[in-house]
C-alpha cells in the first residue's frame, strides 16, 4: 500500500497537490497533513490531482471535503483533476460532484480557480 504526495506551486495564487496510489484509512492522514500545511500557510486555491490515484475511500473523501470547507472559509476553492471512471463514480454516488469542480486536466482545473 502506498501513497505519494507531491505539492507544487502552479501560478501566483494556486497550488497543485498531486496524489498517487491508494487513499484509505491508513494513508489519508498523509494527504490531510499536506493539505492542512498548505492552508495553514495561507494558500486557499488548490488543485488536487487524482490522476495517479488508483483507489479512494470515504476517509479520503473526508479529507478532501475537510480541505474544501477550510479554504471556503477564506474565499478559496478546491478543484479536482480526475478521469478514472471508478473514482468519478464514487464522487457521483456520494453527490460530491455537486460540491467539487472535477476536471479532466490540470489546466482546466486551474483556469476555473481564477
Amino acid at each position: 500500500m502506498d501513497i505519494k504526495v507531491n505539492v507544487r506551486e502552479s501560478n501566483d495564487d494556486a497550488y497543485v497537490v498531486e496524489l498517487g496510489g491508494e487513499i484509505d484509512v491508513y494513508t489519508s492522514p498523509k494527504v490531510k497533513d499536506a493539505i492542512t500545511e498548505l492552508i495553514d500557510q495561507g494558500h486557499y486555491n488548490l488543485v488536487i490531482n487524482l490522476e495517479k490515484v488508483r483507489y479512494i475511500d470515504s476517509t479520503g473523501l473526508g479529507v478532501l471535503i475537510g480541505g474544501l470547507k477550510r479554504v471556503r472559509e477564506h474565499g478559496g476553492s478546491v478543484n479536482l483533476v480526475c478521469t478514472n471512471p471508478q473514482i468519478k463514480k464514487i464522487f457521483d454516488i456520494t453527490g460530491l460532484v455537486k460540491i467539487f469542480g472535477i476536471f479532466d486536466d490540470e489546466v482546466g482545473a486551474q483556469k476555473a480557480l481564477a
Binding site: D24, Y26, Y55, D57, S58, I65, Q86, I90
Partner: protein, 145 residues
Amino acid sequence: MTERERPRRGGADTLSGRVELRIPNRPEWVAVARLTIAAIANRLPFSVEDIEDLKLAIAEACTTVIQSGEGEGTIDIACETEPGELRIHVRDTRPNRADVFAERSEASGTEGLGVFLIQALMDEVRHTVDSETGTELVMIKRVGA
C-alpha cells in the same frame, strides 16, 4: 486464512467455498482485506467494476469498525462464494458494543459516508448485534445484478 470447499456437485460448485480472514483492528491491515476480497471475487465472473465495488465495500466495513475504537479486538471476515454471488461477513469482535454500522448509517456529514457507500454498492446489506460475539455486517454482491 483457511479455505473449506463445500462438497462438489458438479462444475459450477468449484466456485463454491468459504474463506476466513482475521485482521487486527488497525488501519494498516485494511489493504490486506481489500486485496483478499479482490482475489476471491476474481474466482467468480464479476466485472472489473464489481470487483472495485467489493474492494471499497470491505474497506469501508473495516474502516467503520476501526474508527469506533482502533486497536481493540479483531475484525473477522468470512467470504462465502456461490456460482452467482459473494457473501461477505464482517464481524466486529468486541463484545457489548453498540452496532457501529447502525450508528454510522444514522450519522450526518462525512461520518456516514462509508456505510452509505456500502449500501449503494452492494445488492444486499444487513447487520446484527450479539452481546457476546459482537456486531456482524453481511454484504451480498450478485453477479450481473
